[in-house]
Assembly symmetry: D2
Homo-oligomer: 286 residues x 4
C-alpha cells in the first residue's frame, strides 16, 4: 500500500494508549508517513490541532485504531462512506474486530506498507426510522440495530415484516437485527448463532420473547425488514451498534436493509476466523 496518510483514532480509557500513541506516531513520521490525529489523540500528545473524527475519515487513506471493538464500530461508521481500510490494534487483549495484539503492532504496520495483507469486507446494515411518513433518524452499523423496551416497561410489542409480508408479532424485551459480524456480539448473548462473515444474510434475534417458540431467524441479505412499535412507547429505543440511541414512539417503523457500503478490515491471513472464535469462546477447554 502506498499509504499517503494514516488517520489514528484512540480510546484513551485503555492502559498504554498514550505511550503507544507517542511511539507509533514517531515511528510513522520517521518513515515519512503523514499522520492525521483526531482531537482526542492530539490532546493526548499535547499537540495542537487534531481533526474532528468525521473529518479524519474524509482525509486519511487508512485508519489505525488503538482501542477495543467499540472503537472499531465507531471507526466503521466513520470509514464507511469512503470504504478506507481499518487496522485495529486491541489495547486490552484479543477482539473479534481488532485482531492485532499490541505486541504485533510494528510488524503489522510493516506488512501493511509491504502490501502483505488481505481486506476482509464486511457488510453493513442501514436503518431509517419512519414516523407519520417521515424519516426522523437514520444510520449505518457494522454490528447491530437493537429495538428494545424502556427499563420500566414490562415488555415491548413489535410487528415484523419482510418485503412487506407479515412475519410475526413479537412480545418481549426487544429484537436484535444483526449482521454476520454482529453475530458474536449482543446477538450471541441473546441466544443467537454464530455466522461466518462470508454468509450474506441478516439475523433477527428476539430478546427474552414471551412466546417460547420464537427463535433466531436468518434471512437473505437482499431483504427489506420493517419493525414497527405497536405497544406504547414507555421509553422504547432503537440503538445503533450499542452507541447511538433513538427514542421510539408508538407506530414508528424501523426499516432495515443491507447498505451498499462495506467495512474493510485489514487482516493477516495466517490467523483464521475460527482461531479467533476458539480463543474468544474458549472452545476446547473444559
Amino acid at each position: 500500500m502506498k499509504s499517503k496518510s494514516i488517520g489514528i483514532l484512540t480510546k484513551p480509557k485503555f492502559p498504554e494508549v498514550k505511550t503507544t500513541l507517542q511511539a507509533v506516531v514517531s515511528w510513522l513520521r520517521a518513515r515519512n508517513i503523514d499522520v492525521i490525529l483526531d482531537t482526542t489523540s492530539a490532546a493526548l500528545l499535547e499537540e495542537k490541532g487534531g481533526l474532528q473524527k468525521t473529518q479524519l475519515a474524509q482525509k486519511a487513506d487508512v485508519l489505525l485504531i488503538l482501542g477495543g471493538d467499540g472503537t472499531m464500530l465507531n471507526a466503521a461508521r466513520l470509514a464507511g462512506e469512503r470504504g478506507i481500510p481499518i487496522l485495529g490494534v486491541n489495547m486490552g487483549g484479543l477482539g473479534f474486530l481488532t485482531e492485532v495484539r499490541l505486541e504485533h503492532l510494528y510488524p503489522s504496520l510493516e506488512r501493511v506498507f509491504a502490501n502483505d495483507f488481505v481486506l476482509d469486507e464486511r457488510l453493513m446494515l442501514k436503518t431509517h426510522v419512519h414516523r407519520h411518513g417521515e424519516t426522523v433518524a437514520q444510520g449505518i452499523v457494522l454490528n447491530d440495530v437493537v429495538v428494545s423496551k424502556g427499563t420500566l416497561a414490562r415488555m415491548i410489542e413489535l410487528r415484523i415484516s419482510i418485503h412487506g409480508q407479515f412475519v410475526t408479532n413479537l412480545r418481549g424485551d426487544g429484537l436484535i437485527i444483526s449482521t454476520p459480524t454482529g453475530s458474536t456480539a449482543y446477538s450471541l448473548s441473546a441466544g443467537g448463532p454464530i455466522l461466518e462473515p462470508a454468509v450474506h444474510s441478516l439475523i433477527l434475534t428476539p430478546i427474552c420473547p414471551h412466546t417460547l417458540t420464537h427463535r433466531p431467524l436468518i434471512v437473505p441479505d437482499n431483504v427489506e425488514i420493517d419493525v414497527t412499535l405497536t405497544s406504547k412507547d414507555e421509553g422504547a429505543m432503537a440503538t445503533l451498534d450499542g452507541q447511538v440511541g433513538i427514542a421510539l414512539t408508538q407506530g414508528d417503523t424501523v426499516a432495515l436493509s443491507v447498505s451498499e457500503l462495506r467495512t474493510r478490515l485489514i487482516r493477516f491471513p495466517e490467523s483464521t476466523y475460527y482461531d479467533v472464535l476458539r480463543e474468544k469462546l474458549k472452545w476446547g477447554d473444559g
Copy 2:
C-alpha cells in the same frame, strides 16, 4: 369458610369487568356477604365510597380478583401481611395465578363458601436496597425482582454473593431473582426452568449474559442473596413484580431473602399445576 367479608379488586381494562362486577356484587349481597370495594371498583359501579387498596386488604377476609396475573401480583403484595386467601378470576383466558375462568365464577364462589377448596401457599421474596449502609427501599414480591441495565447502557455489571460468599460477577442485561411462582413469568422468557411451587428455592436467571457459560442457578430458600451494582448506574433499576421500579446507583446492594409471609391462593384440586402448564405452554401440540 365463614366469610364475613369479601374485598374485590378489579382491573377495568379487561372487557366484561364492569358487568361481571355488577352481577357478582348483587349475587354476594343477596347472600348477605359483606362486600368491600376499592375505589376503582366503587367508581365502576357508580357507588360512593370504596377503600384504598391497602385498606381493603386490612379489612377483608377474602380477596376476589377480577383481572389478570398482574392484578394477582398486586393483590399478593396487599394480602401478604395478613395472609388472607385470594381467589383469582381471569377476565382474559387462563392465567398461571388466576385459575378460575369467568364462566366458573359462581360455582367457584359457592365452593368457597362451602369450604370446598384448598389453600395453595406460595413463598414470597423480600428485598431491601442498601446504599451507604442505609436501606433506601424495600418490598415483597410473589414473582420476581429484576435488576437490569438502563435502556441506553450497553450492559450492567453485578457482583452476586450468597450467604456472604462470592458467587460470580455477571455482565449482561441483568439478573432475575425469582420465586418458584415466578418461574413461569419473566424468568422463563430469559431461559429459566420451570419450578413446581412446592420446591422451596429461589432462581437466579441471568438476562443475556456476556459470558456464555452463565446458566440459571437454583438455590435453597434459606439463603441471603446480595446483588451489588458494580458498573456505573446509567439508568439501572430494580423492578419488583414488574410493577414497582427503584433506581439504582453504583455501589447499591439489592439484598434478597425469602419472606416469612405467604401468598394463599384458593385452588380447586381437580385441576393440577401440570394441567395449567400443559394448556399455557401448549405441550402436546406440534
Copy 3:
C-alpha cells in the same frame, strides 16, 4: 405444465391414503394423464405392476406425494438427480415440506396443469464417508446429516474442519449438519436457528455439547466440511435425513458439501414461508 406423466408415492400409514389414492388416480386418468405408481401404491390399489421407487423417479415428469415430511425427504433423494418437481400433499395436517392440505388436492392439481405455480429450489447436501482413504458410503440429503454417539456411549468426540482449516473439537451427543430446509427439523430441537431457504448456507448445530460455549455455526454454501470421529466408535452413526444410517469407525471422516442437485418443490405463492412458520410454531399464541 404439459405433464406427460405423474409418479405417485404414498405413505400408507396415514389415514385416508387408500381412498385418496383411488380417487386421485381416477381423476388423473379421466384427464388422460399418465399415472405411474410405485409398488406400494399399486398394491394399495390392488393393481398389478408398479415400479421400484428409484425407477419411478426416472420415468415421471412430476412426483405427487401423499404422506408427510418424511415421505418428502425420501422423494427428494429420488427426484434429485433429474430435478423433477414435487407436489406434496400432507395427509396429517400441515408440514414444512408438504404445504398442500388434503382438501386442496384437486384445486392444486388443476393449478399445476394450468402452470399456475412456482418452483421453490432447495439446496441439498452431499456427503461421503471416508475410511483409510476410501469412500465407504455416500448420499444426498434435503434436511440434514447427523453424526451421533451410540446409545450406550457417554459421548462422542468429533474434529471439525472447514476448507481444511481446523475449527474445533466437539464433545457431546453429536453434530447436525443441516441445510436451510432442515433448519426447522432436528436442528431446531437441538437449539438451532431458523434459516429462510433462500439463505445459501449450511448450519452446524452441536447436540448437547459438553463445552457450554459451543453454539450453532452458520457457514457459506461453498465450504467443504470434514467431521472426523476421534473417539472410539461404540455405536457412532452418520444418519442421512433421519432415514439412512451408516455405522462409523474411529478415524472415519464424514465429508460434506453442497450438491449441484436441487430439490424443486411446487409452491402456490399466496402462502409464504412465514405463514407456515407462524402456523407450525404457533407464533402469536400465548
Copy 4:
C-alpha cells in the same frame, strides 16, 4: 475420624495413578492404617488379593478415590448402602465431585484423620424398571437416569406422570432425570439449570424436544415420577449414571424417586461450591 480402614478405588487410565497409589499406600501403612484394595488396585501394586469392589464398600470405613468424576459415581453406588464417607482425589484436574487435587493429597488425608472436614450429604435417586407388572431392573444413582432413543430411531415418545398425575407426553431424543448433584453433568449440556446440592429436588430435562415449549422442570424431592416408553423400542435405553444401560421395551415404565440413601462426600470448607462452579465454568473470563 478414628478410621479403622481405608478402601482404595482407582481408575488406572489416568496418568500418575500407579505411582500415587504406591506412595499413598506406603504413607497409610506407615501410620498403621488398614488399607483395603480392590482387585484393580492390587494388580497395579502387584500385590496378591484385592477385594471385589462391592466387598470393598462392605468392609472399609472410608473410601479413597484416585480417579475422576466417573470413578466417584461408581464409588457412590458402592458406598451408598452403608453411607461411608468418600474422599475423591482428581487425577486429571478439578472435578465437581473430586475436589481434592493431587498436590493436596497428603494434607487432605491428615485433615481427615484429624477430623477437620465436613460431610456433604448428597441425595440419590432410585429407579425401577417395570414391565408387565414386574420389576425387571433397578438401581441407585448419584447423578442421573437417562431415558433415550436408540441411535437409529428418529425419536422416542415418553409419557411422564408425577404422583400418578399426567404431566406431559414428550417426543424427542429423550429425558434426563437428575439429582442436584447431576445438574452440572449431562443435564447442563442439554440446557438444564445448575442446582445447589442443598436444594431438595429433582430435575427433568428434555433432550432435543420436538415441542419447543418444553423446558427443564424442577420438582420436589418427595415425588414419584413415572416415565413410560410409548413409542416402539427401536433401541431405547435407560442409562444409570452414564455407566449401566437397561434396554427398554414399548410399555416399560421407569419409576423414579429419591432414595433414603445418601452419598457422603468429605469436604474441606474453605472451598465453596461456587468456587468450583466458577473454575469449572470459567465464569469471569471473557
